[in-house]
Every structure is written in structure tokens, then in C-alpha cells.
């Protein structure tokens, strides 16, 4: 087995606010192999975006990485100076954010912004950088790139701006692309085009992609592997097939069940996950999902380890422990005994 391109071990990130310590990421471990597309799914407050920011070295006060390791291609990323980060960020690790309007400079032509990036990171001369920018825009499906280089961001639609952002991110041939909700602000038809673009990039290069999203549909369409986060922790990790067809964590199961069914006919009632996500200023001991979990039992007050439930498939839930399973066979009434109706 070769070394993964990126590995995160027991990452902990907290934000020190007036209200107290917000433990946004509480011990996250994950890895990204070369050439694979991994989805990190979670709702707001799950810690998915903070994890991505930590990988990019973008945690700034009041936020702080308080523990763990991040290794990228054999190099430790925790504790790099801003100078060292600048050599890495944009160059070998690139990022695309949700809102392309706020990440582009509104008073500079697209071409100038792109060539600046290409010249800084790849040391090309002005003309060569412009040629490269044209080529990149063409690759992400922008027509008449020569003319569009001389336009300003406001002359582009939302979908086109996101293409420009992707083109800029790709112009330095990064080994890792982190896309944080890249299609959330876009209309569905435009989203479909951007997802197609990502799939195409994936097929034509060795670049690894981390796609952060709350949309299970997006994940299913693009990602080969999925990491499910909740309450600052990884609840479950596996291939897309594992997660969608053999989910082993009650949170993953609940998320999938709460989606409206596609079949028509009689209107089936939705099955929601009751309750609300945990308060990370005062996170619960043990499993973060236990307050909302229909299977919760006294054992859940203790944080479970990640159980290996299949090759590369792990879940943070006691239900996958052989001892607990044996106990549940003897005392089935235990399962769900600690589940309380919060409403």
C-alpha cells in the first residue's frame, strides 16, 4: 500500500469566542489517496468546512489547531509559517469556495487575475501566462476565452464565475483540489454542468479532489469515497456504495431515510431525524449523535472507537461492536433504552 497523498490524524480545532470554547473539530482522521475524489458530507456545524480550512492552513484566531497531524505528500502541514504556506497553497493544494463573487477581485479583469496567479506560481512570462489562461478557460468550457479574459467578474454569470475559479485553481496543476460547497449557490442546471466538469477533470488527471457538501445527491454523483461528519467527528467512512447501500451508522441511516422518495403514487410521510444538532460550546460526552439516535443505549455515554465494518469502511457506533451485539441478543430491550424524545 502506498502512502496517501493527504492524511489527517486526530485533528482538533477550537474557536475561542466570548461564549466559550467552540470545539468545531474534535478528533478527525481521514486520508485522501492520489487521484481519488472524496466527499465530506455534513450539516452546518458538523466541522466539515473547518477541517478543510485546517488542511489549507486557513485557521486564524480566534480559531486554533489544538491537536493532531496533517501530512501532505510526506510533509507535515501543522505549524508551517505563512511564507511556507504561500509556496504550497494555490500551487500544490488549491481551493474553490462556495461564493465565486467574493473570491474574485471585482475591479480587476479576469485575465489579469488569472495571469497573476499563473506568473506567481509557475514563473511564466506575461504572454505565456496569457496563453495558459486561455487554455485553462477553454478546458473548463468557457467559450471565446480570448475575449472573456478582458472582462470583469460582474460580466460573468454565477456558473461562469465558478468555472473561472476552477480554471484558476487548476492553472497551477495542483495535486489536491479542495472544493467547499462549490455548487450550493448555483441553480440546478448550472450545478449539473459544474459536476460534469469535476467528473471530467477527475477522469483526465491524477489530481485528488475533496468535495465538501451537505447534498447527498452531489456526493453520490461525483465521489468514489465518502466521509460523513457530525458534531465535529467522523461518524462513518466508506466507498459511496458502502455509504448509500450499507450504512452502518444510525446518523447516516437517518440522513438517507429523511430524503424524499423518488417514486410517485401515494405520498409517503418523510422520516425525519428528531431533535437538533449538538451545541459544540458544550459538546455531549460520548457519541455526539446519541441524543437524537433511536438506538441509543447507556453504553453510548462512552465514545465508541471507529469499528472496521468492511474493507475501508468504518463507523463510530457501538452497534458494530461484537460484545455489544452479543449483549443486545441477550437483552434486546437495551437498544433504544437511552433514546429520549427531546421535543
Amino acid at each position: 500500500m502506498t502512502e496517501p497523498l493527504l492524511s489527517v490524524k486526530d485533528l482538533k480545532v477550537s474557536f475561542y469566542t466570548r461564549a466559550g470554547e467552540n470545539q468545531a473539530v474534535r478528533g478527525v482522521s481521514l486520508h485522501i489517496d492520489e487521484g481519488e475524489t472524496v466527499g465530506i458530507v455534513g450539516e452546518s456545524g458538523s466541522g466539515k468546512s473547518v477541517t478543510a480550512k485546517a488542511i489549507m492552513g486557513l485557521i486564524s484566531p480566534p480559531g486554533q489547531i489544538i491537536g493532531g497531524e496533517i501530512d501532505f505528500a510526506g510533509q507535515s502541514l501543522v505549524g508551517l509559517t505563512e511564507r511556507e504556506w504561500r509556496r504550497l497553497r494555490g500551487n500544490r493544494i488549491a481551493m474553490v469556495f462556495q461564493d465565486p463573487m467574493t473570491s474574485l477581485n471585482p475591479v480587476k479583469k479576469i485575465g489579469d487575475q488569472m495571469t497573476e496567479v499563473i506568473r506567481r506560481h509557475r514563473g511564466l512570462a506575461k504572454e505565456a501566462a496569457r496563453k495558459e489562461a486561455i487554455e485553462m478557460l477553454r478546458r473548463v468550457g468557457i467559450t471565446r476565452p480570448e475575449q472573456r479574459l478582458d472582462q470583469y467578474p460582474h460580466e460573468f454569470s454565477g456558473g461562469m464565475r465558478q468555472r473561472v475559479m476552477i480554471a484558476m485553481a487548476l492553472s497551477c496543476q495542483p495535486e489536491l483540489l479542495i472544493a467547499d460547497e462549490p455548487t450550493t449557490a448555483l441553480d440546478v442546471t448550472i450545478q449539473a454542468q459544474i459536476l460534469d466538469l469535476l467528473k471530467q477533470l477527475k477522469a483526465n488527471s491524477r489530481m485528488s479532489i475533496v468535495l465538501i457538501t451537505h447534498d447527498l445527491g452531489v456526493v453520490a454523483q461525483v465521489c468514489s469515497r465518502v466521509v460523513v461528519m457530525y458534531g465535529g467527528m467522523v461518524m462513518e467512512e466508506g466507498t459511496a456504495e458502502d455509504i448509500f447501500y450499507r450504512p452502518k451508522h444510525p446518523y447516516t441511516q437517518g440522513l438517507l431515510r429523511s430524503l424524499p422518495k423518488r417514486q410517485g403514487g401515494t405520498r409517503e410521510r418523510l422520516v425525519p431525524i428528531e431533535g437538533t444538532p449538538p451545541d459544540l460550546l458544550d459538546p455531549p460526552q460520548g457519541c455526539p449523535f446519541r441524543d437524537r439516535c433511536p438506538h441509543a443505549m447507556p453504553k453510548c455515554a462512552e465514545l465508541p472507537p471507529h469499528f472496521e465494518v468492511g474493507p475501508g469502511h468504518r463507523a463510530l457506533c457501538w452497534l458494530n461492536d461484537e460484545g455489544v451485539q452479543a449483549q443486545l441478543r441477550r437483552e434486546p430491550e437495551l437498544e433504544g433504552s437511552a433514546a429520549h424524545d427531546r421535543e
Binding site: 440546478v188 442546471t189 449539473a192 451537505h214 454523483q221 437517518g254 424524499p260 410521510r269 425525519p272 444538532p277
Partner: protein, 302 residues
């Protein structure tokens, strides 16, 4: 609409247009007009949920705002329960302002942060003179709070103390406080977490059955719209391109734009192979009037 089923129609929109003036010349004449809604007609039957879908700029929120007369419209009529609201002044509109309520997308900006829950939910009751005595009103508010899954002890709390889902419950209680007939739900779940959306959708369905409500459900999340709506209208460029029963629309879309829109929804199934229908917008297309292609299924094909 003929006499026999006219009684079933609660909201009747005919030829609705809303144009915004974007620029004026030196004489103050408008020379640049944004046609946000440009001739939309549909009916909403009593007790049903009519879904309105479309992408940004399609005019779906503008239609909703015209129905609650947040905007005066450029042309067309809106009849509510047989009454023409188009020409009514604010005073004559007041009874309808009680019967038509709204739930907005963002539960963070739609609740006054300086009011507690009792004041927020009690305010519309007060405006419409529903409960004369303060203690009666408080009881009614507490009962409503419990109905939407919150507790009596939340009465004196402020919006910032609640999560997004709980705030949306407060918005719903506020809308229902004056016993409306018709609720315009403008993207009511888009700002909520996935795990909370289903809770709110179930509650909206329960409340509809309990109070006999009629909904206009405006949304861009197409899978949830299918779930909640009886019928759906697809808006494109300020015009309706297709109207049908929701299952019929999803299983048998006729307009190329509807086909493209529906086939763009990413399916939460890694084994699904998605065939996407292409739609090339050229911006200058003229959308014709809706014609009935099969019973109850209307489409605007050239």
C-alpha cells in the same frame, strides 16, 4: 373556469405581470424594464399545495410577493376566494391580510430580534383583534407553540436563543396565529439543515390537514417540492412553461426546459446513471400561452 368548480378555486391568478423599472432617461421615462413576471395565470384549489419551481431570476418569489400584495403588480388580476384583490386599498385589504400569511426562507432575518416569542406570535393576533384579553392571547400563543413542537417555557425567550429549525417553527406559529386560509411558503426549508428539513415538511403537512390550509410552496429543491405538492408550476423567464399534477410532471415532463431541470437533480444513489436533457437558453425566446396537452397537464410549447 366554469361555475361548477369555481368554488373549489381559492386563488385565481390571471395574466399577472410585474415589471421593475431599472433605468430612466433624462425626462424620467423608464427606458429599461425588467420583466420579472410577464403574464402568469394559474389557479390554486382549496386545500391543495401548489408548488412553484424555477431557477434564480425565474420570477417565483416575485409571484409570491404579488399574491400577498407586497408588490403592486403591473398588470393582471389576483382573485382570492372570489374577491378581486387587484384594486383594493390597504384598508379594504386588511381582512385579506389576515387570511393570507407568509413563511419566508430565512428564519434569521424574518423574526424581529428585539421581540420575545410571546410578542412575535401575539403581534399578528393583536393587529387583527383576535383576542381582546392579554391572558387569553397568551394561552392561545402557548397552545400554538406546543402545536409546532416548542414548549410553553419558550414564551419569554428571544430569537437568538433558538436554532434555525426552531426559528422556522416560530415563523410558522406566527403565520398560523391569525387562522389564515392560505399560506405562501417562500423557500421555507432551504436554509435548514438536511436532518431538520423533513421535520418541518412533516409539520407543514400536518398543519395543513388540521386547519384546512392551502399552500403556495415556492422552492428550488425539486425533490422536496415533488413530495409536498399536489400540483406544480414551472416558471422560466417570468412565464409558466408547464403546469401538471406533481407525479405527472416528474414522470412525463413535456417542455424541454422542465426536462432539463428535472434531469439535473443529482440523484442520491451512486448506481444511478443520469441522462441529462440539454436546454440551451438563447434569452430571446418567446414563451407561448399554456395549452392543455392531456387532462390537467398544461404546457407552453411553440
Amino acid at each position: 373556469m366554469t361555475g361548477s368548480n369555481a368554488k373549489d378555486v381559492l386563488v385565481d391568478v390571471q395574466g399577472l405581470k410585474k415589471h421593475f423599472v431599472k433605468g430612466r432617461d433624462v425626462w424620467g421615462r423608464s427606458n429599461e424594464v425588467l420583466k420579472a413576471v410577464d403574464g402568469v395565470s394559474f389557479q390554486i384549489r382549496r386545500g391543495e399545495t401548489f408548488g412553484l419551481v424555477g431557477e434564480s431570476g425565474s420570477g417565483k418569489s416575485t409571484v409570491g410577493r404579488c399574491l400577498i400584495r407586497l408588490y403592486d403588480y403591473t398588470d393582471g388580476t389576483v382573485r382570492f376566494d372570489g374577491h378581486d384583490l387587484t384594486k383594493l386599498g390597504e384598508k379594504q385589504l386588511k381582512p385579506f391580510r389576515r387570511r393570507i400569511q407568509t413563511i419566508f426562507q430565512d428564519p434569521y432575518s424574518s423574526l424581529n430580534p428585539g421581540m420575545n416569542v410571546l410578542e412575535l406570535i401575539g403581534e399578528p393576533m393583536n393587529i387583527h383583534g383576535l383576542y381582546a384579553r392579554a391572558d387569553e392571547r397568551k394561552e392561545a400563543v402557548a397552545a400554538l407553540l406546543e402545536r409546532v413542537g416548542l414548549k410553553r417555557e419558550h414564551l419569554y425567550r428571544y430569537p437568538h436563543e433558538f436554532s434555525g429549525g426552531q426559528r422556522q417553527r416560530i415563523s410558522i406559529a406566527r403565520a398560523l396565529s391569525v387562522r389564515p386560509d392560505f399560506v405562501v411558503c417562500d423557500e421555507p426549508i432551504s436554509a435548514l439543515d438536511v436532518s431538520v428539513q423533513a421535520q418541518v415538511v412533516n409539520m407543514l403537512e400536518d398543519l395543513q390537514n388540521e386547519f384546512g390550509l392551502t399552500y403556495l410552496f415556492i422552492a428550488h429543491d425539486l425533490s422536496m417540492v415533488r413530495h409536498i405538492s399536489d400540483r406544480i408550476g414551472v416558471l422560466y423567464g417570468g412565464r409558466l412553461v408547464e403546469v401538471a399534477d406533481s407525479d405527472e410532471l416528474y414522470e412525463n415532463p413535456l417542455h424541454p426546459y422542465t426536462k432539463a431541470l428535472l434531469s439535473s437533480i443529482p440523484v442520491p444513489d451512486p448506481r444511478a446513471v443520469q441522462e441529462r436533457a440539454e436546454w440551451k437558453a438563447d434569452g430571446g425566446e418567446d414563451i407561448p400561452e399554456l395549452r392543455e396537452a392531456s387532462p390537467g397537464h398544461f404546457v407552453a410549447l411553440p
